[in-house]
Symmetry: C2
Subunit: 434 residues, 2 copies
């Protein structure tokens, strides 16, 4: 028979069991943290009608989507979890209770050019808090505390959540009378860490912005110091613009309450260069960095938006949310050796049969599992060495030998594969002795 | 702005939070049971190259697949989890340890005609045990015990796992000299419960099988009684055919060891009418039924196969596995009111602020959460009644009132929404009193 090469498409992650276990551990840490904070689960289809999914999209997004033509239906694979959320909330508005706190962890699809670290299928892990007409700013202060808990529970250390406010930036640009270019300015300064200050200045010049104004923008976004220092500076600038003052007030409030939740200058840091590229955000914005690996870019981003679902409903649904791109993050953490090394034990012991009396072996198995032990039996005839090797490779910490002597004496012989200690115990004493 | 109707495609399940919580509880029960039995997790892409996914497929499958044309690439959404497993094992053979016990829970896609209870996107929850060249028959005896544990952990009762052996059937057909028609015969008798004996006889006649032979087949598959009765009958039939005898020996062995694991005549039942439609299976076959709802059909099916990945590799990889179609099962269980009614509490308490002193509120929140309580704060200003209503709708069992008096006295007032009992406690005593 002609064989087909068993290949996996490039840009699609497919892990060996050892790594999949590690991936799942991070996945579970994210999920359980989201649940601990009272977020409700959501699971929307991966396929949606194109007209629904692309109600807003345009430009870059459209080029990257996966589309399916099926009969008369034009279908699209979801490219994020935010658009499906917007659809869901608009569709089920009457059945939901607001503020609607939902999490969704699922795969999304973008046909990006394949290159290392870029995935076409990847997990997003999102939370959003959606208000009905209004949503208190204190929600924005809880978000960094949730991010902090998520990454701590994932076993990560030495990360910092950067925070800024788009009203502050927009107000400042308005004060400088370049508000008509604010979308472009934010898109460009968003890249400052990647391309450097000199290149940002060059790019800004192409938008016909005065050099003096550019210098003011650069000086402004480079305001540094502790959170208190920065707020003091922002207050001292004497910028007479309402939007600026509203943004400043919001930023102060968010930082203030975030501190109350337990954040510090070390874990939460105002950074006026953070703007998020998307025009979607309207207030607080967040990015998260591993301090020792800034080159990874933001590992968790999000922000406040005025209106989630304007393409589907007239209702005003403001919200605040974040997203973790787990597939790419996992890939990087693995590469940098930052995933906790402690291996996951899938079973507590492997029974190695040295007799054909499987009735007795299964009797022991039942005794052990009823004592809450996770046990595997190696049913196939192989050398003892290769069975022990199976246990070692699967990180099963103990093997249990059962041979004719054990059958005769109603015992089992347990060997720990770390210490190589071995003991023979009566099966009636399993509860106490293993 | 023109609004797009926020609709979800038919044939795609999208649940309200209340039902999603119930779905996740079943999902988690399946996953944790699979893990308890030592199965390793696998997560393959939803999209694969068409040539890989369709290496074997033909006929009905091809018609139902979702295909994506992207540049030169012809891509297909997976329609089951078995073909991706075959690809994965062939691809990663050198890195896996056999027997390879893997579970995979994920969405699969079939463009079936939309009708009630039929889904185009649905979860399959699979386990398989793959051997390298050989795989002991005792694995086949562990499978019913795993099915039993899965459904018990899902909270289901009164189900039965039906078991049969295809060698037995094929051997019998060979003995009757109709082995060239055995695929068709099995496909037809597989439908006996659905279409009835008379229709099965009619269909068999169209394949030009003698009436006498048909009667023998019908009499054979209708052999009834306890497992022991059936085995005694099968032994007494005096069918001189090696395949039949091998199948009988396997069936006896599987039932015998399954009993050792703890199965009984009540939970495991030989049924000679079970054949599974697919020509894929070569030995033991399983189906699972809710005794009071036979009309649901099998809720968990599977069996033994000789060769998992013959389209990708020359290696012989025998295996045994089962699959649960969770989406359809959940739909039916919900409809029949068989999902445990006990609602899931997403949080332990909701803080209802009756003061603007959020610093104090957050202080109480921190105290409570550090005592492992899952707490939400209702930040937005709304009537107390509507905040209590939010707690009730989300099944949060307690509300905590914090007003100026509580701030002054460093207390919180907890009200249980079931008993309506209310008490005011010092925040320093939270650990003991809540």
């Amino acid at each position: 028979m002609n064989k087909v090469e068993p290949r996996t498409l490039s840009g699609f992650m497919e892990l060996l069991p050892k790594d999949q276990l590690k991936f799942n551990k991070l996945y579970d840490a994210i999920r359980s943290t989201y649940e601990q904070f009272g977020f409700l689960p959501l699971d929307t289809p991966i396929i949606e009608a194109s007209e629904v999914l692309l109600a807003k999209a345009g430009g870059e997004t459209e080029k990257q989507i996966y589309q399916i033509q099926r009969g008369d239906s034009n279908l699209t694979l979801r490219f994020d979890l935010t658009v499906p959320l917007a659809k869901y909330v608009a569709k089920n508005y009457g059945e939901l209770f607001f503020p609607f706190r939902r999490y969704q962890i699922g795969k999304v699809y973008r046909g990006e050019r394949a290159q290392k670290g870029r995935y076409r299928e990847f997990y997003q892990c999102d939370i959003d808090i959606i208000g009905d007409d209004k949503l208190s700013i204190i929600n924005d202060a809880e978000i960094p505390y949730i991010i902090y808990n998520v990454f701590t529970n994932m076993g990560l250390k030495n990360f910092v959540i950067k925070i800024n406010n788009r009203k502050l930036l927009n107000g400042f640009f308005s004060f400088l009378k370049v508000e008509d270019k604010s979308v472009d300015i934010m898109r460009i300064i968003d890249k400052i860490e990647k391309i450097g200050t000199a290149n940002v200045i060059e790019e800004l010049k192409t938008f016909d912005i005065d050099e003096e104004i550019i210098n003011k923008i650069i000086a402004f976004i480079n305001t540094r110091g502790t959170n208190n220092d920065i707020i003091t500076s922002l207050e001292s600038f004497d910028i007479t613009n309402d939007l600026y003052q509203t943004g400043l007030e919001e930023l102060k409030t968010v930082v203030d309450y975030a501190y109350a939740f337990g954040m510090s200058n070390d874990t939460l840091s105002i950074d006026l260069r953070i703007s998020r590229g998307l025009d979607y955000y309207t207030g607080t914005v967040y990015e998260t960095f591993l301090k020792d690996y800034r080159e990874l870019g933001s590992i968790c981003s999000g922000g406040r938006y005025d209106n989630l679902a304007e393409y589907y409903t007239d209702r005003k649904l403001p919200g605040v949310g974040i997203s973790i791109g787990l597939t790419r993050l996992f890939d990087k953490l693995l590469e940098l050796n930052l995933v906790e090394d402690e291996e996951i034990e899938v079973s507590d012991a492997l029974i190695i049969p040295m007799t054909d009396n499987f009735k007795y072996i299964i009797e022991c198995y039942n005794k052990l599992t009823s004592n809450n032990k996770r046990i595997q039996i190696f049913y196939d005839k192989r050398s003892v060495k290769s069975m022990i090797n199976y246990a070692i490779k699967l990180n099963i910490p103990n093997v249990i030998f059962i041979g004719d002597e054990e059958v005769l004496n109603k015992t089992i012989t347990i060997k720990n594969l770390d210490s190589y200690e071995q003991k023979t115990i009566k099966i009636e004493n399993i509860d106490e002795e293993f």
